[in-house]
Symmetry: D2
Subunit: 458 residues, 4 copies
């Protein structure tokens, strides 16, 4: 996808929870750093020292929001953290997480990713009953529900209220002494559990959106949190409650684009699956060409797979400049058309006079693909065959991915031939739904692929 327009398709937020590990804020910090790719708009950490909660959140990258002093002030052995890729909002600074609240049972801080599909209805109902909402985050809905519940304990309140929420979500909730981890009934979004052995021999736990966080902090991946499961961490033990029961339909787009290739998501290594997608793509869409090149970094693994399957040599024909930040000065009129080159520079010597297969993970609006084809043409490519390692994206996502509306999705509005013409390629092919299934190679392929087939689970 390699989208130059960061706003067009928001990456998933990242969540992390740490329980009973010394200097929990540090562990949360490194975990969020490892998952920076899931959200660069804002970052926050809340900790508890079993007596009270501490919180710091702000706009910016993890490394910008925190410093030694701030982490040091986030006291305690339990922590939760969040990376956010904000959607538009009047005051997006108010939308950083964790969300903190005082309520009748004390204090809570909550982080959350995904999307609660019935949030608006519940919110409207709550507002009708006199509730107030101070941000644009669905997280507030849950806090209201638990605050209004008549159950005696937070555990019971969560058991009662969480099942009322529909959609894709992971919640990590910190009270003064406990931590609660919840994954939605369909397990749309990934959430894994790891452990660390403390120096004193006790066990510490970490829960994170992606296992790459475990690698960085030296934790061992135990298992994923289950669909509909709530884990309750307290000093004595971890308890597992299945509070909702439905079939899991994890989001296949995590494999396509979101997750880091070095993460194990839904029990499988992302890198492997992306390679398989490339291999399937090669089987389905053979074409005579001189080289296979990826759109970096999103298309690299699939391109390696395509090359392996097809025998056509893999080349790094486009180089990515990693110094592009959010403060970059927009090019003036004179060089505006070269905007894509700020990030991606094709190597003319590799491209020239070649028949080229270009691999990207997906096409959203088509504008970036169009620009990529153009810069390759300018380099003298003889033929450009754009191959996408996933099916055409034809439906928006309602489960936490900030996709454009249907009217903006190019494949929802044009045939493949039209898209091909629009982007200017010699040919364009997508992986088939069957091919996608084969790539994952699971006998019991059960994924949410609504963005590709329009069939929403809920």
């Amino acid at each position: 996808m390699s989208d130059l327009n960061y706003k067009s398709w928001n990456e998933e937020c990242a969540v992390v929870g740490v329980y009973n590990i010394q200097d929990a804020s540090n562990i949360a910090y490194y975990s969020l750093f490892a998952m920076q790719h899931r959200g660069q708009e804002a970052s926050g950490i809340s900790t508890s020292d079993n007596k009270k909660l501490f919180i710091t959140k702000n706009k910016g990258l993890v490394t910008e929001v925190f410093n030694k002093e701030i982490l040091c002030n986030l006291k305690g052995n339990n922590a939760i953290g969040h990376n956010r890729y904000a959607t538009a909002g009047e005051d997006s600074s108010a939308d950083a997480q964790p969300v903190f609240a005082n309520y009748d049972l004390g204090q809570v801080a909550i982080v959350h990713n995904g999307n609660i599909t019935n949030a608006k209805e519940i919110k409207d109902e709550l507002i009708k009953e006199g509730a107030i909402f101070q941000s644009h985050m669905d997280t507030e809905v849950l806090i209201h529900l638990i605050a209004k519940s008549k159950q005696q304990t937070l555990t019971d309140r969560l058991k009662e209220t969480i099942p009322k929420l529909k959609g894709a979500f992971c919640f990590i909730i910190l009270s003064r002494t406990k931590m609660f981890v919840i994954r939605d009934r369909n397990a749309f979004r990934p959430l894994s559990l790891g452990e660390i052995t403390n120096k004193d021999g006790t066990k510490g736990y970490i829960v994170a959106s992606e296992t790459c966080a475990f690698d960085l902090v030296g934790a061992t991946h135990i298992r994923d949190v289950e669909a509909g499961e709530m884990l309750v961490f307290d000093k004595q033990k971890i308890q597992s409650h299945i509070i909702m029961q439905e079939d899991p339909y994890p989001c296949v787009f995590e494999y396509v684009y979101f997750a880091r290739p070095d993460s194990k998501v839904f029990g499988r290594l992302v890198y492997d699956i992306r390679k398989s997608m490339g291999m399937e793509l090669a089987k389905e869409n053979p074409v005579d060409a001189d080289i296979v090149i990826p759109v970096p970094d999103s298309g690299v693994a699939a391109a390696l797979g395509y090359s392996k399957q097809s025998g056509i040599p893999f080349e790094l024909g486009i180089i990515r400049n990693h110094y592009v930040g959010r403060t970059f000065i927009e090019p003036t009129q004179e060089i505006r058309e070269l905007k894509v080159r700020l990030k991606l520079n094709p190597i003319k010597e590799i491209i020239k006079d070649k028949k080229i297969i270009v691999i990207d993970d997906s096409i959203v609006r088509g504008t970036t693909s169009k620009q990529i084809v153009k810069i390759l043409r300018d380099c003298g490519a003889k033929e450009i065959h754009m191959k996408i390692s996933s099916p055409p994206t034809i439906s928006p996502c309602y489960y936490g991915v900030d996709t454009p509306t249907k009217s903006e999705l190019i494949s929802a509005n044009m045939s493949n031939d039209e898209v091909c013409k629009y982007i200017g390629a010699n040919s364009l092919s997508f992986l088939s739904l069957e091919g996608l299934k084969n790539s994952i190679g699971d006998g019991n392929y059960k994924f949410c692929q609504a963005c590709f087939d329009g069939k929403y689970i809920v």
Copy 2:
């Protein structure tokens, strides 16, 4: 007071409301700038363009929080603003104002100064009913009350709920098309109404804690908002509702210390009253001396009055360095005892061998006075007579002033002689309660002076 320890006695917050003036955010900005002395911790502005609300708030001085671009994005002709001097809190960044909320009637933004004395009870009650509180600010209490009210309009809801609040407060509330301005039943905190004639001949309005804001933006002071009054601004008209009726007891400490000398507060010029206080002090406490010097800047007006009354020459014997900011590096051990000199430098040539009357506005903990006496002694003063232009501060304030607890108020725990000995002066005298009354010279002296006499209105 000239307190080096900024945390010991928080200045009052500043509020401003602007209605029907082009680029309202600019007017709010300059008004907040004029009232920067009432709070330097955080600043915020919310505007409405009759369609929706915009908000920006952050830590820092007015000139640090805002820039041209930010002001420009705060669209519309209505605005409210706030300067905050934070009290301690886990996450004080969450405590900036305005507070924004979505509720059943739409959107509101609220700014607020003062202190709601029954906030905790109402809050506890609300929490019991399932409400959640996301900050440490009493402002949330009002939002909950209006959200829960069954009245049909915001006007009616405010009429219903505001009278439930006790204490000292000013509220300015912005909805998408209206602005509401409310002053508590005892009119503890100052709040004045001004007007501007727009270019097109229409009237624009501004409400602010101090009239110095009007001077800067070129508005005319019309009158003060009345005790228990609610002003409702909408496109057609301004309506006044008296929603609570009690005798006004404005805070006398505004005259003593808080307000800028060039503001008219409670109908009287602060500078005049401070001079009168100094004159009364001279009548009550004559002493043979060579010169009268103020502790700058807080004691200047009273010292001028003392000099005028006593005939003893006024001298600027202590010079204040105005470059002291919040980022100042703490002195090392070697020069720590000179800490007070970072801000205040006595002029040895003026002080030496003189009998000196030093005028300050009040004594809180006594530590600063002690340091001032010491640096004057070091300059060779023959006698140091510390004279305070208000009575001894013996009781904490519950109406919006973040005073130390009683145990920290030196005059609540020591006799005048003991305080005099502690600070090391040759003599120490305070203005009497009678003298304070005379200074204000009002036939019907009715002020809250609980900090001086312990008699709380409510």
Copy 3:
């Protein structure tokens, strides 16, 4: 002067030198902080630990340029420092001091204030001989001269080269083990010597533009550096060399405006002299009026003197807002004419219907005075008598003060009556040259007053 246009008349730079005092960088830092009023554009400190030199300099206030870590890295017991008020230049960031250089005898760092009147000639000569200049600072001239000198020691080189320089200057030069302090032959700019007794009983020394620096760091003022004197500090001793001999003609404008009132300059307390100027002004220019008010802060001492002499009451009729910083957002068209009010707010209740004497220290272009008269008129003043506690400024300064050119000096181009009409006052009077002399009251009045009489010493 209270100039809103900071660029119109640059304040003098500040210099400080510290020798044999532990953590010399801290002492330099506090000294520069005390002298911040002499330059706010840039600040720098260089230290030596007897082995090598360290340096940090940057744009901004002292408190912005330095922090604990930076001061800590400026190792050693000797230090020099500088506050700069930059003149216009292509790359003013290159113009911060100290200036550092490697030359044939090793390393030096130099700070310098004032103005070398023959710098251009020497520079042209040096350039003709092949020298290069990397900044706009005259300091480079001296470094070139000492680098080219054939003398064996830096002491001898300074003895040889300094006398070639004309004009007003103070130099403080740090080598790896020594510190050199030089004042020009006419002692135009102030430079005082102080001492501190170290814990181990040894003496430490400090040299600074103003004695207010000594007050802050707890040093004792010993004496001023003499006209044409060079002090050489080394481990064993301080040596004094008179390297140039001429009559001293210190700059009288230090008394009028530059120096802090709490500094002793040229052996006299600035505050005292300013008061005398006000008294002389009252003798020379009596007028019937109700009150005397100063333009704060520059006119306060003179206004006190005027009031004392005339018996007309002193009032703080204009309040200054000290939060004005360099980042202030310019007012929009709507309130542009109120620009002066950002800094100065007149108190209407004091001004209205009064005959007012306004005291300022000087008039440069007349634009600020005009604005002040206007805002006082707007407050309803009956009569406004502008009285200036110095003679008309008719000639530019060539000795370190960045005055406007003659064509911009209003009194150089208009009669007093014309100036009075321009600024809109009822009357305008200046202190006479005779009155200036009397204010300083020195039997042997010998000051450079070229800005007032056009008679340049050199």
Copy 4:
């Protein structure tokens, strides 16, 4: 090399010159952005509008030093720019480029990369003659020489003085109306010439260290600047002068590590050569293995080549986190040993139980290689064969590369077997000098490879 310790081996600085292109500062900015990999410590641009020079330089990345306003103030159609990777120095902020100077012919600004090997001697000589040096940059040497030259024009002075300089260097010099571009006699460092056709049909020119800059701004690569050539750009024409004549010996390390893979350096595409190096490495050092993985990003191209030649599958077995910045918080003791993981995360699922060939471009101190081997071992690698796509680095570079001293170069002090043991690999092999030559495949292989064979050209 993928060095975690940024200080161990400084990347080369980048230089750019722009002549006769509208908004030259923008072109310089984008060019420096494209060459950010050659220096991240400081950045600067100087421009001329044919009347005078403008300059801005500061610490930080290109995107941090400049913004729209700054670029806008850098007026004119000619510009030079520089990215710097600083060596240690007392005041490295003084060491940013361009260096600006006034001298007898007017104003110049100079940028420079590389290293003048006889700088110290010339500098000592100049100092003996009375010159002063204000920074640690060799650039000052050239300015002194041209300032002292007796030739009438800058062109003639450069012709006279440049040949006195030895070593590796590129200079770009801006005067008010001309630009001069010079490459050393051995053409050690790359420097290419490109052109842009302006809207009005005139030609504009750009000179840059790497051609990737041309790609970004849409310029066409014409040719490289020749060894010993000086190009003089003025309004009428470009003139070429060969001012020194010797055989070119370009730096082979540009191919090994410095240059971006998408740059054409010394007439050849870097990516191609790196692939060839990998292929040669495979021919020289076959080993039985399951996969070939690169150390990203430096080893990717060579690993592709190795895989191609050997037929052993290429895998991205280590993922690089590109969010690592200079402000990263150092890990606490608990996870310190995982430091390398902040940047590099191995994929356990790919590594486990495999025989692995790891490709990196070079080994300097060996510490990073040791850490990489360790994290691969921790993933369960069966065998780890470290293969380096260049010969052992045994000698420091004197031509502009800030290499460690010989005592720090592990291969200068240990045999291959010892190094292999130190880093903990199963085997370690380097490309031979012969293999290096073959990779470049040039019949007339003439490169400086002193770092590999110790034979210095000069």
